[in-house]
């Protein structure tokens, strides 16, 4: 009789633990569902027109024509600060995008390894270009880095496009697989 009670107690305890575990999984899944509502469009794509303005040599030419040496230096300092801010913001958005991407694909079996590798290589190239750009902006100023800004922007744009295509593809396959 005593043995039966112990078995019943252990069984009951086991069922309660299972129930708690199931509830926890359910909560996590619904939290992930909230994140799943986000889309790539919500991550700000770097703005080329603003970058063009910041790194524009047209403004620098105007200041060189118009202002004293001290003012030119002041302008260089200001633009350098803004250029570094642009770089920081662009890098932060790309990191957010990659984090979101990782979270989205974590539980998905339809992942295409070759595209994922391409995306990873793209992100690493972007980070490398950002580091080079940071050094160049500090050393040479923002107006002589336009070519590398263009390249960094191109890689960032590619990163957004690939991630967009991947996630929309995954979402579509998830919708197809979902029970109706």
């Amino acid at each position: 009789m005593n043995h039966l009670l112990i078995f019943l107690f252990v069984g009951l305890l086991f069922m309660v633990l299972l129930l708690l575990w199931a509830l926890k999984i359910n909560r996590t899944a619904s939290r992930n569902g909230e994140h799943g509502d986000l889309s790539v469009e919500e991550f700000e794509r770097p703005s080329l027109v603003l970058a063009d303005r910041i790194f524009s040599s047209q403004d620098w030419d105007f200041v060189r024509r118009e202002a004293s040496y001290e003012l030119q230096r002041e302008f260089q300092r200001e633009r350098k600060r803004v250029a570094l801010l642009w770089l920081k913001q662009t890098r932060r958005e790309a990191a957010r995008l990659m984090k979101f991407h990782r979270r989205t694909i974590r539980h998905n079996i339809d992942v295409n390894p070759s595209v994922e590798i391409r995306l990873a290589v793209n992100y690493l190239s972007f980070l490398f270009l950002c580091s080079v750009l940071q050094v160049l902006i500090r050393v040479r100023g923002p107006f002589r880095t336009r070519r590398i800004v263009g390249r960094a922007f191109g890689v960032a744009n590619e990163l957004w496009s690939v991630s967009e295509r991947l996630i929309s593809g995954l979402n579509a396959s998830g919708d197809r697989g979902a029970p109706s």
Binding site: E44, S47, V49, L50, R53, I54, S56, Q58, D59, F62, V63, E66, A67, S68, L71, E74, F75, E78, R79, R81, V82, L85, W86, Q89
Partner: protein, 145 residues
Amino acid sequence: MNVDAAIHDIMNRTLAGVSDDLSRLICLASTRDYNTGRYHHEGLASHFTEEVAESALETCHRKLFEQLTLNSLEDLVRQLESYITSTTAPPMMVVEAWEKLQPYRVTIPLECDSLSVEVFFSNIKCALAILRSRRARNLQGLQSA
């Protein structure tokens, strides 16, 4: 649809007599309550509704700001000079007040990208410095003549 009509009204009637984007920006920012950030324009509100007028003013303000952020520094200097002249106060006095009090900070819309704000503030600071040096040069030229 009503908002579009109100935007058209703002651009073609309310701001028709205002010469450039910077003056238009200052004009639109002045229709906003500093404490609440809400826009109000008596004429527009009576012609449309309070909500439509507010939404149209907010949209115009944001668009003008975005446009102005992308303007060249040379153009901004020209617009700032034109605005300062239009105030009829002594130009150097206005430049000094703008440098010290930074009233341009209240001209930015509530919903805008933080980087655009930085670019705008930085450009205005540089434009003010250029205007100051221009005035000083002109004054020197006059004295030596």
